[in-house]
């Protein structure tokens, strides 16, 4: 099923990437070196250095970590996988990774389901007050978790969901639905409504139109929304920190911050390995769907 969806997704929009020279003939090479390549290199190096440092630290033996005189700190001699195996075998890291994956997948599916329905209703059913509902959903996007986590903690407590990953699956959609509804509204608008009129004349119900026409045509939008939501869930911190108490139930970001912080000077290797492994799934996902991710990010802003 997913394979078929992927195949149907048209190649990422590359229309803007024309290779024409434009006005660049007006510049000489030295000029380009100074005004383009030099600043760009500096910025990219600064942006990537923390990841290099993370990766390097996670494979560095302990004695090289704390002895910066005999070994150059920028490189590693005799790399070791000790930190990574220690992390995976001696801590509950695999469990945390699984929790994060479970919460992110569950919340993302719920949100996409809800926002497909909502976006379709707002864009195509044009019910009474649909514009106001659209605006209200956009406003919901502007409500930050930082002002909601205290009342939500007591709501979650009242529902008996405290310390359960299910609480996060139910709460994260409030962050994701506004964004993905807004994104999908943009996609649904681009679908010619003549298609829907034809289907209506042929006797299709609204539900059939949605599942047989609109959804297949907006697969790129759904992928964008999915990737972006999944990343947001993985990244979320304050709700997870507030709602989850017991160690085995934690998600990776919360566990990394709370479970490794002891006075041990040798914690750094495992800590960096944990940060690296926690980031990898997202980076891999991103590498496959760069264009979708970027269009999600910019699409939501452009609307």
């Amino acid at each position: 099923m997913t394979d078929r969806l992927m195949q149907k997704a048209p190649a990422a929009p590359l229309a803007k990437n024309d290779d024409s020279e434009g006005m660049s003939y007006l510049e000489s090479l030295p000029q380009r070196l100074i005004t383009l390549y030099l600043p760009l290199t500096i910025i990219v190096v600064i942006l990537l250095f923390p990841f290099y440092w993370m990766a390097l630290t996670s494979i560095k033996p302990d004695e090289q970590l704390i002895d910066m005189e005999t070994y150059s700190p920028f490189w590693v001699v005799a790399p070791t996988f000790k930190h990574i195996t220690k992390l995976l075998l001696e801590t509950q890291y695999p469990r945390w990774l699984w929790n994060t994956m479970y919460v992110a997948t569950g919340a993302t599916f719920l949100s996409i389901l809800a926002s497909v329905l909502a976006a379709y209703a707002i864009v195509r059913l044009r019910f009474k007050g649909s514009d106001a509902v659209g605006a209200a959903i956009f406003l919901a996007y502007l409500v930050p978790p930082a002002i909601l986590f205290i009342p939500l903690a007591s709501v979650i407590q009242a529902y008996g969901l405290f310390d359960s990953p299910l609480s996060l699956i139910l709460v994260y959609p409030t962050l994701l639905i506004p964004f993905s509804t807004w994104l999908l509204m943009g996609y649904f608008r681009t679908i010619p409504f003549e298609l829907e009129e034809c289907a209506l004349i042929d006797g299709a119900s609204r539900w059939q139109i949605l599942t047989k026409i609109v959804i297949p045509l907006s697969v790129p939008g759904l992928i964008s929304a999915f990737i972006f939501c999944f990343t947001l869930c993985w990244n979320e911190f304050i709700y997870a920190l507030t709602f989850l108490q017991s160690t085995p139930n934690k998600t990776v970001p919360v566990a990394i911050v709370n479970e490794f912080v002891d006075g041990d000077i040798y914690k750094w290797g495992s800590l960096m390995a944990g940060a690296l492994i926690g980031s990898l799934p997202l980076v891999i996902l991103y590498a496959f769907f760069v264009e979708h991710y970027v269009s999600a990010m910019t699409g939501a802003v452009k609307e």
Partner: protein, 319 residues
Amino acid sequence: MSTVQTSLRTAVEDTSLAARWQQLRANRNWQAMWFMLPTAAFLLLFLAYPLGLGIWMSFTDERIGRPGIFIGLENYEWLWDDAVFWLSVFNTLLYTIVASIIKFAVGLYLALLLNRHMPFKAMIRAVVLIPFIVPTVLSAIAFWWIYDTQFSILSWSLIKLGIINENINFLGDANWARASVIFANIWRGVPFVAITLLAGLQTVSPSLYEAATLDGATNWQRFRYVTYPLLTPIIAVVMTFSVLFTFTDFQLIWALTRGGPVNATHLMATLSYQRGILSGRLGEGAAIATAMIPFLLAAIAISWFGMQRRKWQQGNDND
């Protein structure tokens, strides 16, 4: 006799009920209600209700495990006289203003660089966004290690270069700690600003630049009179989001300093967590969180009116 009558009547009712049911099914408002139901349920239960509850809680003395009673403005009066609260307001404003301005400047500059023609353009653009993909807490942990008191790679490099003599206490000294968390925030925010502004830049037609160049416009004039006016709407949106997310930032601070040293990096969000959840004074925590709302509304209003003004200047037809 009577049975026939009743059955007749039910039959009539049945058909009219069926007809009404058909009518209802075709009614778009009725259909839309079912389509909107899941979204409305989530947003009302877990967003609108907690928002209201939070404001209510800020007027009570609720603690963890004990329901609160209404105490009026007492929480706010208490906060008004609390130096730590005002310090956190100051820190939040400093953090937001400095980080947003630098994010905007560097992000716009980076967007302009990325918009130029160069080899491996697509790959460089993809790589630039990585800091935004990686969970904030995990990159904050990397920064924590980079800012370590003893084994900081920054201190080590600066000592080797002969610029300083002893390790900088990045997260232990008040001003250094503020600068460090602001830097980490900028580092994470720049890719977002740059890539979204780049998307805006790509919609600017190259012929405008060619025309401006023929008219003898300098680089700066091309930016000031072509790029900037066309980019203003998207700048307003991007910076609104950037300001909102910076103002309510929590995770970066919590992972790096937890508000320390001596509350020097406490933002309103972290103070609210500390008072509300860790100390268990939910009412006071909710009051701090509620105190952020006016600032957020002000930020939204400013960008909203900025956009309206720009729309009016450009004629209302384009976005």
